[in-house]
């Protein structure tokens, strides 16, 4: 086990974090191309399929971002250097998801606004998107120095409501009893709850308060 973990970590050290940007930029462009030419699942109704494809991948990346810390604690696998790229990529995919919704699906700014105000599932989706904006803007070393590491860390806890709103957005748009949105919600709530759950395994001095 130990050797396996070390081998994974040393392999990961050799992969630059920017690889993620390249991979997902190519992926997003490839999906767009398939939608444009009507390939496979895009044959009949490409707009909704593309909208959903970008949105679901963004949600997966939000989950991946939340997994970085527990994966290090549980398995000793260190993915911390990828976390910024995971988050920023999630932001760009949410942006792409929003643009498909606004430009290709709803097709008018006025109607986009009506949808945001009138439809709760769109409202929470927008909240999630808006919450990601300051996170994406401060995902650089200069910002960390400028606002200070402690404030920066506090600000980036916004990831938790962002992920919860994204899960509610998915739950809310499903018709009938569907499994996938429930699974995402359970995972996201579990990963956030885990962070705030008092850890019994950590022996604490008798009088010291519990800390995270």
């Amino acid at each position: 086990m130990l050797r396996m973990k070390d081998r994974i970590n040393s392999a990961l050290r050799r992969v630059p974090a920017w690889t993620l940007y390249i991979v997902f930029a190519i992926w997003a462009a490839w999906e767009f191309w398939k939608a444009l030419t009507g390939v496979g699942p895009y044959a009949v109704e490409p707009i909704n399929v593309l909208e959903r494809e970008y949105g679901e991948m963004a949600l997966k990346l939000l989950v991946a971002g939340l997994l970085v810390t527990p994966v290090r604690q549980w398995f000793g696998v260190n993915l911390v250097k990828f976390r910024r790229a995971i988050g920023v990529t999630a932001f760009f995919l949410v942006l792409a998801h929003f643009l498909v919704f606004a430009i290709l699906d709803v097709q008018s700014l006025e109607r986009v606004w009506t949808e945001i105000v009138k439809r709760p599932y769109v409202t929470v989706g927008m909240l999630s998107f808006v919450g990601l904006i300051p996170l994406a803007l401060t995902s650089n070393n200069w910002s960390v120095r400028k606002i200070g590491a402690a404030t920066w860390r506090k600000l980036h806890k916004l990831t938790y409501p962002v992920a919860v709103f994204a899960a509610i957005h998915y739950l809310w748009l499903a018709k009938g009893f569907q499994i996938e949105p429930l699974v995402y919600t359970a995972i996201i709530v579990g990963l956030i709850g885990w962070r705030y759950w008092p850890k019994r395994a950590v022996p604490t001095p008798a009088k010291a308060p519990l800390s995270n």
């Binding site: 009507g38 109704e45 949808e115 439809r119 599932y121 009938g176």
Partner: protein, 300 residues
């Protein structure tokens, strides 16, 4: 009773199926529909352009076979449709279990090219083949006390993945007021493009009520019950705030989660424009009379 309603488009105007199958390539090649129309007899003023068979058979809501739009096309082959028996009961003179052949024997199958508007704000145009529901009802003899017709979809749990996952309370049930059921526009479809209806579209026999949202047009029917009470309908049971018994297409009454003012016709590609949704899906002249006593915006 057949031929009580005729298509805007006569049979002679219907583009041959082969042309529709090639339609996408023609559009892709920017030849456009004008070129197709030019080679055909004059088309009626507000002629409907049917979707290709590929569109109609690969983009479906049939939750017994999964919730994705392509799930039914992938999974519906498991549906067993021979033999097919339909139970007719309730307030009828001739109740019983009818084989599909017996139920339809002697009735006239017509082609009806209808707009089909899903509650999810997409639409298609489908060239159905079917019989008027009124002909079936007259055949089994509706008693004077009957006010509603209830329908039920087959349940084959071992063949239906969505039934195993309990996406809805199955069997799927639907219903119409008797006058809606007897209306000339209401048909039981057994074919599309002149061929037996595909399983993902509701083989071997499904309801088509063109002025209502698509979920009212219940698929793969195994039971028809005449009653004097408004029957439960599946989507209303699942979510009464969002889905009413009538569910007439109405651009003025939004679904709580999305607007019904516009729709997008399937098959228009990545840049397909939204079009305004028509009151009663464009069939107001024919069916508005059914609802003169009833404010449509309240009875959604």
């Amino acid at each position: 009773m057949a031929y009580r309603w005729t298509n805007d488009l006569t049979h002679a105007d219907v583009t041959p199926k082969a042309a529709f199958l090639n339609r996408r390539q023609l559009i892709a090649g920017t030849v456009g529909l004008g070129a197709i129309a030019a080679g055909l007899p004059a088309v009626a003023q507000d002629a409907l352009e049917p979707n290709s068979l590929e569109d109609i058979t690969s983009y479906n809501n049939y939750y017994e076979f999964g919730t994705g739009k392509s799930d039914p096309a992938q999974n519906a082959h498991k549906l067993e449709i021979t033999p097919w028996s339909v139970k007719v009961d309730g307030l009828v003179d001739n109740p019983g279990d009818y084989s599909l052949e017996d139920l339809l024997a002697g009735l006239t199958v017509e082609e009806r090219i209808y707009r089909f508007r899903c509650v999810e704000a997409w639409s298609m145009v489908v060239p159905w083949n079917g019989v008027e529901l009124a002909d079936i009802l007259n055949k089994v003899g509706v008693q004077s006390a009957a006010k509603y017709v209830a329908f039920e979809t087959v349940v084959q749990p071992e063949n239906m993945i969505g039934v195993q996952r309990r996406v809805l309370n199955f069997p799927y049930v639907e219903g119409l007021r008797l006058d809606e059921a007897m209306h000339p526009l209401t048909i039981m479809a057994t074919g599309i493009y002149g061929e037996p209806i595909s399983k993902q579209n509701g083989a071997p026999m499904r309801l088509v009520v063109p002025w209502k949202y698509g979920f009212k047009s219940i698929k793969s029917i195994v039971r028809i019950t005449l009653t004097d009470e408004e029957p439960p309908i599946s989507w209303n049971v699942a979510n009464p705030r969002e889905y009413g018994f009538y569910s007439n297409v109405n651009p003025e009454v939004d679904h709580p989660r999305w607007s019904q003012a516009t729709e997008r016709k399937i098959g228009g590609g990545l840049f397909a424009k939204r079009e305004p949704t028509l009151m009663l899906n464009g069939y107001a002249d024919e069916v508005a009379g059914l609802y003169t006593e009833m404010p449509l915006n309240d009875y959604f």
